[in-house]
């Protein structure tokens, strides 16, 4: 009996694994094949002949290439602002006596959960309009920053709490100013945490569609998430050869960062990574 049950549970386990694996993998396969196919298709077919011409065409498209650069600029800019300001804020929350500490932390969680998505874009668009920030990178970067900061602060605060205070105390004894101490003592120790937040912020912004879609107007300023919709025929159907090649190019930085994080830190789960 126990042998049968053992075998049965093994079979069930493999069946379950295969089904779940297929559920996740099947939609992705198209992106691995279509970019190398000379014929634009939505179907899953082995590219015959295998070609890199689609990528050549995409590389030759200056508009599409500039859009990737725009994405780097927007995601990189947000990453820098978020990481720096969140580090300082997290440090202050952990190491200074902050009045209304509980109110502040709960308020941050509350506002970042409530003011989100399309609902937030209605007032944010009008605010950007009033400040003259529509169709500017500053507007896009600051909007992303506001949304990402609360989570970034909480992730970093956990890292700061994990640091021994003795380094900072001896820096203080040696007469370092608070800013010198943060720059020369805390930030080097906090590098893993800052790295996690930087990568997280970059990936969030890199893949986002709604905020630049609402806030930007000029085609030349568009990031890749929106420029991908420019590979259309005059009849309005997507040119699948170019779209799929561009989609793969655009996804690669995220895949590379995932592999990097996985190899370097292991894709550990930070309790509130999306909080």
């Amino acid at each position: 009996m126990t042998v049968i049950r053992e075998v049965l549970s093994r079979v069930l386990f493999y069946l379950f694994s295969a089904l779940i694996g297929a559920f996740f993998a099947l939609p992705m396969l198209w992106l691995l094949l279509a970019p190398f196919n000379a014929r634009g298709t939505l179907a899953l077919e082995i590219p015959r002949p295998f070609t890199l011409a689609n990528f050549e065409a995409v590389f030759a498209n200056t508009f599409a290439m500039r859009a990737l650069l725009n994405s780097v600029f927007i995601a990189g800019g947000t990453m820098l602002v978020v990481t720096l300001t969140a580090t300082m804020a997290a440090y202050a929350l952990s190491r200074a006596e902050v009045p209304y500490y509980d109110l502040l932390t709960y308020g941050l969680i509350l506002f970042s959960s409530v003011v989100t998505g399309t609902a937030a874009m209605v007032p944010i668009f009008l605010l950007a309009n009033a400040l003259g920030l529509v169709d500017t990178y500053v507007g896009v970067i600051l909007t992303f920053t506001g949304g990402l900061l609360p989570t970034a602060i909480f992730i970093l605060r956990d890292f700061v709490e994990g640091l021994p205070r003795s380094y900072e105390e001896s820096a203080m004894v040696c007469g370092a100013t608070p800013w010198q101490m943060v720059r020369d003592v805390v930030m080097p120790l906090l590098q893993p945490g800052m790295m996690v937040v930087a990568i997280w912020a970059f990936v969030q912004v890199w893949g986002a569609f709604l905020i630049p879609f609402v806030l930007l107007r000029t085609p030349e300023r568009m990031p890749a998430a929106i420029a991908i919709y420019s590979f259309y025929t005059e009849a309005g159907t997507p040119i699948l050869t170019l779209t799929s090649a561009y989609a793969l190019l655009y996804a690669i930085p995220v895949l590379v960062l995932y592999l990097f994080v996985n190899a370097r830190y292991g894709f550990r789960f930070f309790g509130g990574i999306k909080r």
Partner: protein
């Protein structure tokens, strides 16, 4: 922890907090209050009402809750109903159920299958929005799509998923897209359980299902609540389905986030758009308060 002298003085601490707090105040707190005012006006993008929006009282909200054609496609009731089905189907059943099933199936297991499935689920979670949207449009295509190719190979008929079953399509899509979060959360919750719990149950002769129901589920209860609240919040606010069905055909997959977008950014009726945004934010607020109260309960329990 013993109370020690803070390393930073209060003024320096506040100075360090200042830049982050300014961004949060301007781009989160202020918009959430300003939207209340906009929702009481007839603000538009261009024309007279753009320069001098007029106070219209609760007219926008009355239009929203106009029960005359509340459930007619393209109206708010229809979008709310779609959102409820979308959240129940893709978040509460799809993501949480699948995430828990995977976490439980690979509980205390290592090996290639675990690596493979965790990697695939995480990739589905982190690939950019527009890229997953193109994948799924290709996947669900009536004539060439992979899903129909498999179904017809199994002898089943082809379905024009995005036209005939638009809501079901985005429900399955969003299950695929977000299951990784629940999977990771439940995996780390299960990892904290002492093995003796299950060994004791096995000695007592409990079946795996009984052990799961009577031991595992109660011990990760607070994680389950946290997970359900967060994925409900995110699923309710996600805009990605727009990239797959654009809410159509004829508003059949129009969820509230897409409805808001259409009113505010396609019709440019900001007053009405703000009224929907206020309703959305109130729903978010209710969910966030449930979340905060579980956080506080956990903090007190620790």
């Amino acid at each position: 922890m013993t109370q020690r002298r803070p390393i930073l003085s209060m003024p320096v601490g506040l100075l360090f907090l200042l830049p982050a707090m300014v961004f949060v105040a301007v781009f989160l707190v202020f918009p959430s209050l300003w939207v209340l005012w906009i929702s009481l006006t007839n603000q538009t993008l261009t024309g007279e009402a753009a320069l001098r929006p007029r106070f219209v009282g609760l007219a926008n909200f009355r239009a929203l809750f106009d029960f005359e054609n509340w459930m007619v496609r393209g109206y708010f009731g229809n979008a709310l109903r779609n959102s409820v089905l979308f959240v129940i189907g893709s978040a509460l059943i799809g993501q949480a159920g699948l995430g828990l099933a995977i976490a439980w199936a690979f509980y205390r297991r290592r090996g290639i299958w675990r690596e493979l499935i965790y990697t695939l689920a995480i990739l589905a979670w982190i690939i950019p929005d527009v890229v997953v949207a193109f994948m799924w449009v290709a996947y669900l295509d009536r004539d060439q799509g992979t899903l129909n190719a498999i179904l017809s190979a199994l002898g089943m008929g082809r379905v024009d998923w995005l036209i005939e079953q638009p809501l079901l399509s985005i429900i399955i899509f969003n299950t695929w897209r977000g299951a990784a979060f629940s999977m990771l959360l439940f995996s780390s919750a299960l990892a904290t359980l002492p093995p003796s719990y299950l060994e004791a149950a096995a000695v007592a002769g409990a079946r795996p299902w009984q052990a799961f129901r009577d031991i595992i589920l109660p011990s990760i209860r607070s994680h389950i609540i946290t997970d359900l609240v967060l994925i409900t919040l995110w699923t309710f606010n996600t805009f990605t389905p727009y990239l797959i069905t654009a809410g159509g055909p004829t508003f059949r997959s129009e969820v509230v986030s897409i409805y808001t977008f259409r009113i505010a950014f396609q019709h440019f009726e900001f007053g009405r758009g703000a009224a929907v945004a206020v309703v959305m934010m109130l729903i978010n607020l209710a969910l966030a308060l449930v979340y905060l109260s579980t956080l506080r309960r956990e903090a007190r329990a620790r």
